[in-house]
Symmetry: C2
Subunit: 327 residues, 2 copies
């Protein structure tokens, strides 16, 4: 017997913009991850070759958060043939005190987009140089836009550079970034040119071969790689991880299985346990010198889902929005 | 973007009684489990000692079913102190073709009760002797009632016997079974007396020490043990499994981890791979002689959730019930 609120994507987009509060709550989740009492089981996955689909379920219990999220992320790759997006999904929030369901967010992946971008801002806040004049993004999708918007909240860069394999998509992405942040945004056709000019680079591609080469790294650069979220994907040349002064994982175990760390270890590099973003947020040594080269590997954690779902419920309660169902 | 139907426990109880159709759909799920193309990942579990809680997530993709369920089962054992039940939870159904969410069942565990009882009927249909005059149940909870009701659909016994440690609860349980099935139901104070008179016994207790002893087994008996669903629980003396002519698991891997098989193996027995209920439903050798002793170990599978959720959506569509939300 419980009282549940159901919210649609449209309501969630209206109530929860990508703002500094979204970054703060995701940062709090990373801080909690570094502490005691966290329970974050491995991702539950179903690979469904019969229907060209896959389903991931993530969750995390974080002390200090009054609820825990469970997120279902289906990817069905025949959908575009019938005019549907490949990715969708929903998130639920349960009381961490009673286990009762509190909310179902029919967000079609919006909250995931939001918490993923927010994690990029957390990484930038704790790892990028204090002064970022130029930020670059490799990739032209939804996350290219959102990551650049999120990073701007914590490192208000003056100029954005976009690289993508499709020039028209890169131009559209640059326009959107300029509009969202108010800065000048330009397109380059050579990713090395993007990296060389930037103090902060975000990679947001589904690449299976590296798009960022180790030799392009330069003093005072921070790279956030968020495109790889499954075995088989890789955006950074393995040597880049080894060449950096500091490599940080959102989750050591997930990055070893799904992130850039996987490819690096397959190449015989980076065999020691990496430091995690939560530890850096909680005060462990991050960047200690503006000339250092830092890399943050983001695969996406259930902790971020718990954080953004908690914020979504608070926003719904404050607004009185959503559809209430008693069961 | 999808159109989702939300159903409450009250609607689901009204639309989905425990009837032969519920048994049939769960039987079809077991049949599918024995075939090709099934994807049923291990249960995702969070143990939350800080809040005296646990959360299990189950799912299964079954070829031939147009959707797959994801079920969240929280158990928060401080709840009774504040007047709430320990167990609740919800179930979702997703299209197996597109991955889009189709339904959220705010069932507070009702659909789990239903599919668990239905599995007992499937076990009885394929493993109990053809003629069951007397059926007995050890335990007096919700499943004691539902299992006896479900079994009566496929083995219309004339007399029911109830044993429980609490005489008043046993009497109430017997009354409910008599009312649901129309047969005479009596209470016994000695579980051996229950077992000795019955051709079919269902054990439905949360026992951590066996309640059914091996020496009580007699020719022509079928036992369904459904109480043990986690390591540490056990209803049957390990020797009972070894003494039976046939032992059948709902899922070999789950029974080895969570069911009666776990305790038997801990005692050094039953080390060979057991036959699964799906294989028996699909035609593998089950009971071949009315004098045999058979045991079925039920831990509860994601396949049953997919089955009952599929039926729930069909019932909702046929009735036009539920709350529709477009997102």
């Amino acid at each position: 017997m419980s009282d549940i609120v159901i919210a649609t994507e449209e309501e969630l987009r209206r109530l929860l913009p990508l703002d500094i509060e979204a970054v703060e709550v995701v940062e709090a989740a990373f801080r909690a991850l570094a502490g005691e009492g966290v329970v974050m089981p491995p991702v539950m996955s179903m690979h469904l070759p019969e229907v060209n689909g896959e389903v991931d379920v993530k969750t995390a219990y974080l002390p200090g958060f009054e609820g825990f999220a469970i997120k279902v992320s289906p990817g069905f790759f025949n959908n575009p043939k019938i005019g549907l997006p490949s990715l969708n999904g929903l998130m639920m929030l349960f009381s961490a005190t009673t286990g009762l369901a509190q909310a179902v967010f029919l967000d079609n992946g919006y909250l995931t987009d939001l918490r993923t971008a927010a994690a990029g801002a957390v990484a930038a806040r704790h790892l990028a140089p204090e002064d970022v004049a130029v930020a670059a993004v490799l990739g032209t999708g939804v996350q290219a836009r959102l990551q650049m918007q999120a990073v701007h909240l914590v490192r208000p860069y003056d100029r954005a550079i976009v690289w993508g394999r499709d020039a028209a998509k890169a131009a559209a992405c640059a326009r959107d970034i300029a509009q969202a942040t108010g800065v000048e945004a330009e397109v380059v056709t050579d990713p090395e040119r993007a990296v060389s000019q930037a103090q902060l680079v975000v990679t947001t591609t589904p690449a299976t071969e590296p798009v960022l080469r180790a030799e392009w790294l330069h003093k005072g650069l921070h790279v956030t790689a968020m495109g790889s979220d499954q075995a088989g994907k890789s955006e950074l040349e393995p040597g880049a991880l080894a060449a950096a002064d500091l490599y940080v994982a959102d989750s050591a175990s997930q990055c070893a299985a799904l992130g850039e760390l996987r490819a690096a270890r397959a190449a015989g590099l980076m065999l020691q346990d990496p430091i995690e973003l939560g530890a850096v947020v909680a005060g462990a040594a991050g960047r200690t010198d503006p000339r250092q080269i830092t890399i943050c590997d983001l695969t996406g954690t259930g902790a971020q889902d718990t954080a953004i779902a908690t914020r979504a419920l608070a926003a719904l309660r404050a607004s009185g929005g959503g559809t209430r169902v008693t069961s």
